[in-house]
């Protein structure tokens, strides 16, 4: 199994994440889908780092960076989602459409 295997897994993961983000109604599950997509990207980054030209840690460093950003994003996102769930008493994003038009 070479680079293609990793990329395939990464693509599948990203597809699951994207589908989950668009199909799910639950805000928490949407956040989890986003994490899935981020990790799919991370996977492809480290795979490219391992199979790419030697001596360049750029892919690994990028993966670390994405992890940090993902952690921050998850924190803020989760805080917002919890706050909105507390006020709206629901996690269904359909109910959040107050700002339409």
């Amino acid at each position: 199994m070479g680079l293609q295997g990793y990329l395939l897994v990464s693509a599948i993961l990203f597809g699951i994440g994207a589908f989950g983000f668009m199909a799910r109604r639950n805000a928490i599950l949407m956040l989890i889908s986003i994490e899935l997509m981020l990790n799919a990207v991370n996977l492809s980054l480290v795979a490219f780092n391992a199979y790419g030209p030697p001596g360049s840690p750029a892919g690994a460093i990028f993966a670390l960076l994405v992890m940090a950003v993902a952690a921050a994003e998850a924190t803020v996102g989760l805080a917002l989602v919890i706050a909105i769930i507390r006020t709206r008493k629901t996690a269904e994003v359909d109910q959040y459409a107050d700002l339409k038009e």
């Binding site: 668009m22 199909a23 949407m30 459409a97 339409k100 038009e101």
Partner: protein
Amino acid sequence: MSTELLIALIPALPLAGFLFAVLAGSRLDRVPSHGHDDHGDSHADDHGGHAGHGGDGHDSGETDDSAFRAVPSEEEQALSSPHAGHADDLANSNGADGVIPADMNDGLGQAGHVVEGGPRPSYRSWWVPTALVGIAWAFSMVVFANVVFGGHVYHVSVYEWIVSGDFQIEIAFLVDGLTAALLLVVSTVGLLVHVYSIGYMDGDRGLWRFFAYLNLFMFSMLLLILGDNFLMLYVGWEAVGLCSYALIGFWYKKPSAAGAAKKAFVVNRVGDFGFGLGIMMIWTMLGTLNFEEVFAGIGGLDPTAVTVIALLLFAGAVGKSAQFPLHVWLPDAMEGPTPVSALIHAATMVNAGVYMVARANPIFAESPVAMWVVAGIGVFTAIFAAAIALTQNDIKKVLAYSTVSQLAYMFFALGIGAWVAAIFHLVSHGFFKGLLFMGSGSIIHGASGEQDMRFMGGLRDRMTWTYRTMVVGALALAGIPLFAGFFSKDEILAESFNRGYYLFYAVGVIVAFMTAFYTFRMIFMTFHGAWRGPRDAWHHVHESAPTMVWPLIILAVPTALAGLLLGIPPEGGFIHTWLEEVFHTAEEAGAGILSGSIAAGEHHGFELFGIGGLLLVIGASVGVAGIWLAYRWYVLDPEAPGRFVVRMPFGLGPGMYAASLNKYYVDDLYGLVWARGGVLVGNALWWFDAKVVDGAVNGAGWVAQRFGGLLRRAQTGRVENYGLGMAAGLALVLIAYLVMRP
């Protein structure tokens, strides 16, 4: 002190007077205010009783009330009661209720004439302005003597005013014979009008304001005549226009005065626009505005360009000197106080146009077309205005149209190249018309503010000195031998004959006849016969205050003598030696239309028993004939004018009378074309603005709103829709990348 310093001080003194009056005037005058109910006589200085003469000896016209007769009907009498408000002083009185709009009427009258019997005002604000003008007059006389008798020409450079690249203008004065002539008239009449105003404006709350404006006017006028370049001329020109505006509208609460002031200003703007363009064109073509440099360079220009310049300059003169078709403002300007009419609208400012054309004589001399235009407009306006003056009933309107006509005489003289004669007439006219206007002010004052001659009569007995001096002025205006107007007018007529303008000469003679007629019609209607005004007003008729009478007497002296001193021998008098230098080049150029053949200087001299003598006799006899006709019609047989009008061939009489009385409907025509037309154009433009311009602006907003209305539907507020949008966008970018990839 050197003469140069005196010259620089002459305009500076009235400017100082103006500043003084503005800064301190209102604090120096103590004018008691008074209540609305206190409904006294118009004039504080009325010596109410004046019991000397009884108010008998007249009864108003109970006989035939033909419209052409000098005797008013009952209704007209009622209209003319001193509070009807057409008289210039009346808005100043307490009885101004009908004149001043209710919302502006504070019960203090226009500027607040003080009531008879009430506390007397004390004035101190006129002292300094009048004294400064007096000093300026003395300086002017010194300068005048040095220039005229000493033969000097002064160039006084004060400082560099504008330095901007090639455009360099100095504040500098040029005093030659021409300026000296104007200086004589302006400072003398100016000083006398200041003295006269002390009496005339007595009782007015705005006295300090009046003197401030008068001094500002003196400054501007002196700047105008002393400046040595076109820009200073223009600055003075506009400033006198501003002062004219301020003084016509001096009683600004009176709508007719405010309207007349606006009219004067707007009509003058029309001419001044041309004048300004002319000056700009001179600068563009010659790169200088200095008189001497311009005149030196003008010969090298394209003749068409010179003609255009001359005509543009003349447009300014037409406006300022009230020539047809811009004459309409001057008669209306009589709404101002009478001293203003005497100073600005008869003796000085309206001469500015004549002065300017005379000053620019080298330019006009280069352009036969411009000379024709000047002469043609002059001749036409002369007879046109004289024909209107024949039938006017307002004493100041008669004099106003007379002024238009006499100024036209000067342009006529300028146009045929009789430069010296024009300036000679300017000087003598300045004196006698100033005198006549001040006399008319004295009459108006004495007759309780009445201005309509139909309600006057018999004033000779009570206003002796006004009568005597006005007769001197009238004889001069009528061109009776030995008086100033005779020599100057005859010189214009003789020059036009000698140079071969026989048609112009004939018109000039007719105008001279008409002038004599309307002048003495005025004298006879006011001073002779019986009093035709309201009976109670007769008791108030009195000679005016000494400050008003003395200027009349003083002005009567040059009016009687100027012609003898300056005009003998005819066509070669002292004024010719005095002005020879100024018009030298123009005369050399053989300016004028036909005079190319008769080179000016060398035409045969005056012969008493030749053509010259004959012309003198003709000139004198038309004057006498005019006076005789006025005497027959307005003293011997007051029915005669009415009969004459009715008996005119083809029944033209009443129509012609009405046309003349209504100023040939020029004002109505302008009202229709410019005022009503302006409203129409304004309405059309308003429609364009409201519908097209505003429509475009509103349309832009409408389009944005509708477009936004469409786009807002995309905002569903559903997170998954946005997510789908983002995914779709990303997919699009990817597909585009894959497709476009080389």
